[in-house]
Symmetry: C2
Subunit: 217 residues, 2 copies
């Protein structure tokens, strides 16, 4: 079965107003998040592993997918479901040789060409990153726009996720453009009630997915 990535929440302790990764993850899954990605670049590896193990336990309770950013070794050690590889991280093909399916490998792409290569190299999903300009990731640059989501959707069979500048106001547009889900940081984690923000955003995404499926049926 293809995993659902409808609402994919990337944890970030700064954007969340210094709530811990574990608190962010717990609140997001309480609000129905389908997938959680632990993204931590500053802490030492042993500490990231300890956090990952705690989130693994928290997500196991709800069945949410748990993905670790960048560090495939930490993802494997924490028994996460997968790893998310950015453009500076291990190449998808190298990661795939170490971690066979059903371990999930996702990667960020900026064009249909990159998405095709990722799929060919063994990726399980691609994230168009960033769809819109965003303040949550300092290095993300200008947005690729909805056209790139559509272009990626047309060339790959694996799930396509949008990330970057997505919130309640534009999430449905990202789904209509062809995405199977939206990944967010601040739209959920910068809100006072994270679980409620997740629940409400997820309902927008799921409604748009349902509308798209009924239109194409």
């Amino acid at each position: 079965m293809t995993p659902s990535f409808a609402l994919y929440v990337v944890t970030d302790e700064v954007v969340s107003g210094n709530r811990s990764h574990l608190e962010c993850a717990r609140a997001a899954v309480a609000g129905g998040a389908d997938a959680i990605q632990l993204r931590e670049k500053a802490k030492p590896p042993w500490e990231i592993l300890a956090i990952a193990r705690a989130i693994r336990a928290a997500t196991a309770e709800t069945g949410a997918i748990f993905i670790v950013n960048d560090r495939l070794d930490i993802a494997l050690a924490a028994e996460a479901d997968g790893v998310h590889l950015g453009q500076d991280d291990l190449p998808v093909a190298a990661a795939r040789r170490i971690a066979p399916s059903p371990f999930l490998i996702g990667t960020s792409v900026g064009s249909a060409e990159e998405a095709l290569r990722a799929e060919r190299d063994g990726a399980d999903y691609v994230a168009v990153s960033p769809v819109f300009a965003t303040g949550s990731k300092a290095d993300a640059g200008a947005g690729h726009g909805l056209e790139v989501v559509t272009a990626v959707r047309q060339v790959v069979r694996i799930p396509v996720i949008g990330i970057g500048g997505i919130g309640p106001a534009n999430a449905a547009d990202v789904i209509r453009a062809g995405a199977d889900g939206c990944a967010v940081i601040s739209a959920v984690l910068a809100q006072p009630d994270v679980a409620e923000a997740a629940r409400s955003l997820r309902s927008v995404i799921v409604r748009a997915l349902t509308d798209r499926r009924s239109e194409s049926a």
Copy 2:
């Protein structure tokens, strides 16, 4: 067969006067280094992997052991012989579950107790770090001294390596204290002729190892 770690060179582009990791590794193995560790904390993962693959090819020609610092995933992707885990990195037991023998796992220790735990958790060697005070690693602190090398040697069966402030003048002392090898950065890489520095330091170490064995025979 127990691998030989007599002369173990840790690459460092700054200490080496901006020679690349690959140049450092090539020169060190040309001088007879038994093991090379790629230690790179600043570059992005994809680039560390590319460097690791190049060093893997260079060490394969001479049979030198090739170890990657910290990143078990990069070590596996580069088909290195092993990983070296510092105190901030993945715990040995977590790494061992991902990477079964004969993949080598080494770790830094500061006491006999830490060495015993590392051996029990599946380490293939321990590095007493630092033996002496050193300028090559900013965070290494004061030296543990030769007594700790001896104490570690008495409690574990796996190879014991000394690292930190070791050079031609004191390498034999480290071996006499019970080490099976010496790991160095600047004693080899900060020298104008790296291969010659490796050759000359290795002969000091091998002579001390030979003397120790004949004394105990």
